[in-house]
Symmetry: C2
């Protein structure tokens, strides 16, 4: 049994993901695959365009053997904690051999070199980062500059241009975080990378063969997907999205949470706002002031964001507020090793064998049915139950965005995993 | 200067109110009138159908000289606290001679008799109420039974039928609360009553000359007010409502808060729910369970309500939750004598003289401009500021319901009072 792990959002699954998956299995020579996938909320601080069960179906159709849920307490965090949560989840299955991720650079060695420095974070580097932060840069920018400065001062065999290229691209950065998390957790999992091809991450144009998830989402939100999208995404993705649309469960975007988020902001004091992660340096004042200036969520985000406080960071804060995920709770999980369970969203026949191997070798409870691990009517009794409660809450809030009132009922996390019988 | 006080909601102002007002001025022989009016949320646990400034204009047009706002911390409470807040507001103007209220019975003496008993609440009566409550009755029902039992056991000159009639009708009950509050505060204000005429409180039929506020609201919400309502409400009410409709600020109903309230409920734990007033006897479980069963606020209320937990009580709880008005804060105000300021919503030339008299004789700060008393950017520094902050928050949340995005901006409480120059 040789097992490849991938960390994904599949929001939604497209040809770029397909390419990455096929290439990964070839590169690793793995005969089993596990995917750690974000649930109903994703790292860029948005609700996923379709719910996690529909995206699990896409992943199963694409040939993934087992889909595990990245708890919302990690899915909706900065790149560092997102990577930490996902890597810990793979570590604790006890069966994953290799982690493959896409990157702009497409070579593992330079990433390993920089990743190792980030993992060790020497005091000198920390100081350099603090210096840059004080200039008003965002954390990723400050760290990028600091790393360039640090490496050029040392004997490491990378030119400033190379480092700049590594640390200035979103997939490289996420890759560095995976390497950092693997290194710090002394993981036995081997990191591998594949060069991303096709559309740029943020590309809006839908004409190239591999279209970006952003472009696909915009097309779905503009409601004319019927005309041009069918040849741009796999048939199953197209079919599954259409089913969700027909049932009144999609598309879901930040817009759906407009009044809910604004109402919560207007009833929340600055002191309470400051209890959320990444609300630092008086950001609570900025957020609270903006909440009185506009009745539109998109305008609100525009009013708050600065060079230092990026749009993604603001959106994550607003969604953490919506879900009532406070910093003290998040840190409690972080300090306890991250994910407290392995929650199965779906699997196929091969996945069944993986589950059996994980039962033997894994070091976390394996959850097929939530009701066996936590009853909604009781207050959480353990960290595991607290993390589950946060997940259930996230799904219950996501459900309220459905156009179809029937599906707005709560407790949808209590359903069983999806089983694809081949 | 002879001043009559009335306690109102004017939601919206109709011919029944007009009749009551004219009759009041005649009965009291007063040459000045002060009205204490609920702001954007009303005692039956609903948002007012149009905002407080539009209803202030109606009151000024009807001939009231001075309109003071009943703080939301009293407007959105049970009859007992609603009456307590309103009566204290009148007491603390230092200028009101008489309080006139409508009642089904239309005679003050029987109300005084029963009101005095309620004010004193002898231990025996308290015990009788507890006994009835334990049978699962709502508080008003339990108290009604207990009072009948108590009075028939004593030498008071009222038959059970008379007591039943007094205590079984909504306006009589509110009147009793006014009398109780006057008595307990050893007020110099003399209570007077006028028999209500015209439509019953809950009447839906719009054909009689005096139509109920409920019927008018339903007609406005059904959006066909243009056809039949013009002859049923005063011209100015009609004009003001139409202006609000044209501006996209009306009609406002519980429906507008559907997703906001459901979202807040789903992110709030049972423990936090239990911090709200009237969430007793495990009601938090009932509310939380219902919040997962439906995506509709009206269905939610239906799922929660019982004989004991009335619809009005449930609605008040949900709105207190929306506005984040917790029991401990409400009780802090109650224990500090109720309203902490006299907030002016509007006045005419006569009202100007009243304001000058209140400046001399009143015992609370008189607020014309909120910005002179509290800056939104600072945390509240006193009980007065805390109460103002709650009011501003209530308005900021009410504003989010406006159809017109322009008016959803916050801080609308900072506008000056309306002055009607005759």
């Amino acid at each position: 049994m040789k097992v490849a792990g991938v960390i994904t959002e599949y929001n939604p699954f497209h040809y770029g993901h397909k390419y990455h998956l096929e290439k990964s299995l070839k590169l690793t020579e793995a005969n089993y695959s596990i995917c750690v996938m974000s649930g109903n909320f994703v790292q860029r601080g948005e609700p996923a365009i379709t719910n996690k069960w529909s995206r699990t179906e896409m992943a199963l159709n694409a040939g993934i053997d087992l889909i595990l849920e990245l708890p919302v307490t990690y899915a909706l965090r900065s790149a560092e904690y997102f990577a930490y949560g996902a890597v810990q989840l793979l570590n604790k299955t006890g069966v994953v051999d290799q982690l493959v991720f896409g990157s702009e650079i497409g070579e593992i060695n330079p990433l390993l070199t920089v990743g190792k420095i980030l993992a060790e974070e020497p005091a000198e580097l920390s100081n350099l980062i603090q210096t840059e932060l004080k200039k008003g840069l965002s954390f990723p920018e400050a760290r990028a500059k600091a790393v360039v400065n640090y490496i050029t001062q040392t004997n490491i065999n990378l030119t400033p241009t190379e480092i700049q290229e590594i640390i200035g691209n979103p997939n490289n950065i996420l890759g560095l975080e995976y390497i950092k998390a693997l290194s710090r957790s002394k993981s036995s999992i081997q990191p591998l990378t594949i060069q991303r091809r096709g559309a740029d991450y943020y590309q809006q144009n839908i004409e190239t063969e591999i279209v970006s998830a952003t472009a696909i989402r915009n097309r779905i939100l503009s409601e004319d997907m019927n005309y041009n999208l069918t040849t741009k995404i796999p048939t199953y993705t197209n079919r599954i999205i259409k089913e969700e649309l027909n049932q009144g469960k999609a598309p879901i975007s930040l817009q759906n949470f407009n009044l809910a988020v604004l109402s919560i902001l207007r009833r929340t004091s600055k002191t309470e706002l400051a209890e959320f992660e990444d609300v630092t340096a008086g950001l609570e004042n900025r957020i609270k002031d903006a909440a009185l200036k506009t009745g539109s969520l998109l305008e609100l985000i525009n009013l708050i964001k600065t060079k230092r406080f990026t749009q993604t960071r603001i959106q994550r804060i607003l969604l953490q507020l919506l879900l009532n995920l406070k910093q003290k709770d998040l840190h409690k999980f972080d300090n306890a090793g991250g994910p407290q369970y392995l929650r199965v969203l779906g699997f196929n026949q091969q996945g069944r064998k993986l589950l059996s191997a994980i039962s033997d070798k894994g070091s976390l409870p394996l959850i097929n049915r939530i009701a066996s691990h936590y009853q909604s009517s009781y207050p959480p009794q353990s960290l595991k139950e607290e993390m589950l409660a946060a997940e259930i809450r996230a799904t219950d809030l996501y459900s309220l965005a459905y156009d179809n009132e029937e599906y707005r009922r709560g407790g949808q996390d209590y359903r069983k995993p999806i089983i694809l019988e081949n």
